[in-house]
Amino acid sequence: MTAHPEASGLGRIGVVTFPGSLDDGDARRAVRLAGGEPVALWHRDADLRGVDAVILPGGFSYGDYLRCGAIARFSPVMGKVSEAAREGLPVLGICNGFQILCESHLLPGALTRNDHLHFVCRDQRLRIENAATAWTADYVPGEAITVPLKNGEGGYIADEATLDALEAEGRVVARYLGGNPNGSRRDIAGVTNEAGNVVGLMPHPEHAVESLTGPTTDGLGFFTSVLKKLVTA
């Protein structure tokens, strides 16, 4: 990547705000608490302002009226994010961000209506399956964590061949423990692309970064992982 005039060093993480994004502030706070510098990106930006990684936050972009993430995918900033992701820029999509990544075909599969048809908000146990991605290196493989989960359309779905390939290539990043909350195939809570720089995750690590406001601080690892990777890169 070419140097950007605004770049102040390592650890600048862009957080995109789409109309209807809700957890953008929380994602920025999480980056800050992890020691990074959050950079607010706007959906109409045609430039990533030289950030070292991008987070697509949770929320209801464009009201999620058509399909979650279907409209946000076409925003100018997503054109840039897709390009950069293909060149290796670390990208984390949380919840709505995961849906946007699937809609953009940066990740395989899709997210569908929860099998019980209700929005669900609860503290969810997860097992980190792949601790080698840009966003999970600070975890140990198999580590169990608890972070909030909140969604109406969180059921991960892909055809059997894709699911088998994901398993075989170790691209399932996290799996639900203690009961599948939404009907996700094979209890999948998050997946990564082949290169391991793009991660989509249904639960919300950015809501588990302070003991006062989250169930745990287990979510911090996602943000510290990418920051460390940037330092050592």
Binding site: Y62, Y65, I71
Partner: protein, 89 residues
């Protein structure tokens, strides 16, 4: 076996935020000339017995009671001829 299709749409005078969101998105994707979009639901019901008038009347009842919220939605019921492509699949 026959298929009955129930289309459920918001009544014309009711605000349709979903349709609006799609309509607003289209020009941004380079599609002009769509003056309105309304988004509704489509139900495909597979009926075990032959669909005679009585059966259709019952589907209408179901639509009224369950598939549509008649306070804000209208529905239409029709028998769909089996699509040969589908049938083959």
């Amino acid at each position: 076996m026959a298929r009955v299709v129930v289309d459920v749409m918001l009544k014309p005078e009711i605000l349709d935020p979903q349709g609006q969101a799609v309509q607003r998105a289209l020009p941004r994707l380079g599609y002009e000339g769509i003056t309105e979009v309304r988004q509704g639901k489509r139900f495909e019901l597979e009926v075990a017995e032959p669909v005679d008038d009585a059966a259709l009347a019952r589907v209408r009842e179901m639509a009224d009671a369950l598939l549509a919220n008649t306070v804000i939605e209208d529905y239409t019921v029709r028998v769909e001829e089996p699509d040969p492509a589908q049938a083959a699949a």
